[in-house]
Amino acid sequence: MKNPPNANGSATGIGWRHPHYGELLERQPDLDFLEVHSENFFAEGGAALAVLERARSVYPISLHGVGLSLGSAVGVDAWHLEQLERLVKRIDPVRVSDHASFARGVFNQATVHAADLLPIPFSREALDVLCANVQRLQDRLQRRFMVENLSAYLGWKNHPEEEPVSEPDFLVELARRTGCALLVDVNNIYVNALNAQKSGTAGDPVARCRDWLDAIPAAAVGEIHLAGHCHVSDEHGDIVIDDHGSRVCEAVWQLYRHAIQRFGPVATLIEWDTDIPALEVLLDEAARARALAEQSCEPVA
């Protein structure tokens, strides 16, 4: 089993996706952990699970979910919890996470799942629901869970009788009430800031992201995600999409440096989910993250 070798205690991993299953197991590159999407391994058996178990004998595994729908007003699906619990027992992951989002709800009198990471309002009611679902999950898994901030392409109106709450304050309160950790996706913060700038609701995106990161206490952070995004311009307008389909941009690297200076050594993941390139490209991105972490991990606050 490989262990985090970095002198400062941080760990660097990559999202391990199907095109790299064989090559990575053969080469066994110097990575501190692998991240996989939990739902891809919910099967009772079969090839995917066998491959994951092989990887588990070499690398620590971080299970990252995309389907728990933790912010759903109709609650978390008991079936989903069962599958995740079984997988956690089987793999004994180093970390388990999902998003501050919803996808499950009622449509045409039936409970459906939109298979996406849909935003939740930063309202008192949404916080209560999110906290209850995260607490239920942690009780079930008997471990600390991590919740990731979203890239959101639309925002909810503020409740007329509530003071507006910022996303970092909302997440910090979630962590305080449940004891969960926060998975800080730096690219998501930047994508949101770029879209806010495009819509004229915010100014300099890098400054906005620094403020976001500065609002998060270091002790709450369990992992950092880095990924690429794309700019889409068409007849319908301009938007930045968190597509995980390119290298991490320079602004996000800058913000990552700021984040690890603030948070100290935190496990860091390179995510790449569309137009997946050669494994070497991911390893190169991971090496850059590791080098930055080694240079910059003296906390400043």
Binding site: V112, A114, A115, A126
Partner: protein
């Protein structure tokens, strides 16, 4: 209903209703401006996911329909019967019935049965693993077949059709038979029963041998080997047995003890 539930229902409706204009108007009262471009991004993501997820479960259907037609089908199915679970690989079981009900596909009446085979293969690939136990095979020589059960491979399933569904599948997955032969069988209306099973970690499909479908259907129904053999009058069991062991279809033989008095 809580405000949060109202908000979430409004967004889900704007994503899943088709046409979506009315649902979008209803959603607009809950969200801040601008929202149209963002909503479009979520709608496009849902459609792309539908095509990708169903395409992974139904690769032969993609080949039969062509990528554009399959994408249209996937989008229509997404709106008609959206996923209910957070694991999107669980979504798509109802596609064969959806195909059967499609007026546009009435000229290709074998497609629903091909889809049934594909779903059986998809389920088979993810079934719980099981190991063969050759030490149990001598029981076949020692015991009355009425007192024996056969344990079959994970995900073992039969799909009976009035169409040559097994040939359609293997032609696309293994280039055997060739497409000309499959076309002739379709034209002649040759009926086939497809057998799906797992050989190790590999999900496989083939046409059943004469009498094999009756044998396996009886065994899969939980009955003993004796009645299964009685129904499989056309099966050459002595030839079938080594083949079934060799290809991982038969995993073990289990004695059935007499019920306690």
């Amino acid at each position: 209903m809580s405000e949060l539930a109202r908000q979430q229902q409004a967004l889900l409706a704007a994503l899943l209703a088709w046409p979506s204009q009315e649902a979008e108007k209803a959603m607009a009262e809950h969200v801040g401006h601008p929202w149209a471009r963002g909503l479009m991004a979520y709608q496009a993501n849902g459609h792309a996911l539908a095509v990708r997820a169903l395409g992974a479960s139904y690769p032969v259907l993609v080949q039969l329909l062509g990528e554009d037609s399959f994408a249209s089908l996937a989008r229509a199915f997404w709106h008609a019967q959206p996923p209910v679970k957070g694991d999107v690989t669980q979504w798509g079981e109802a596609l064969p019935a959806f195909l059967a009900g499609s007026s546009q596909l009435q000229d290709e009446p074998y497609l629903p049965d091909v889809a049934r085979v594909e779903w059986a293969l998809h389920r088979c690939a993810n079934a719980a693993d099981a190991q063969a136990d050759a030490s149990t095979f001598p029981l076949l020589m020692e015991r009355d077949p009425d007192r024996l059960a056969l344990e079959l491979a994970p995900g073992c399933a039969l799909v009976q059709s009035v169409w040559p569904v097994a040939s359609v599948m293997t032609a696309h997955l293994e280039a055997n038979p060739d497409f000309a032969a499959v076309g002739r069988r379709l034209g002649e209306g040759v009926a086939e029963t497809a057998l799906v099973w797992r050989e190790g970690l590999r999900a496989c499909v083939r046409e059943t041998w004469p009498g094999e479908a009756e044998l396996l259907a009886t065994l899969l129904g939980g009955q003993a080997l004796g009645p299964a053999l009685d129904r499989a009058v056309e099966l050459e069991f002595n030839a079938w047995l080594p083949m079934a062991v060799h290809t991982g279809l038969l995993l073990r033989v289990k004695p059935i003890d007499a019920a306690p008095a």
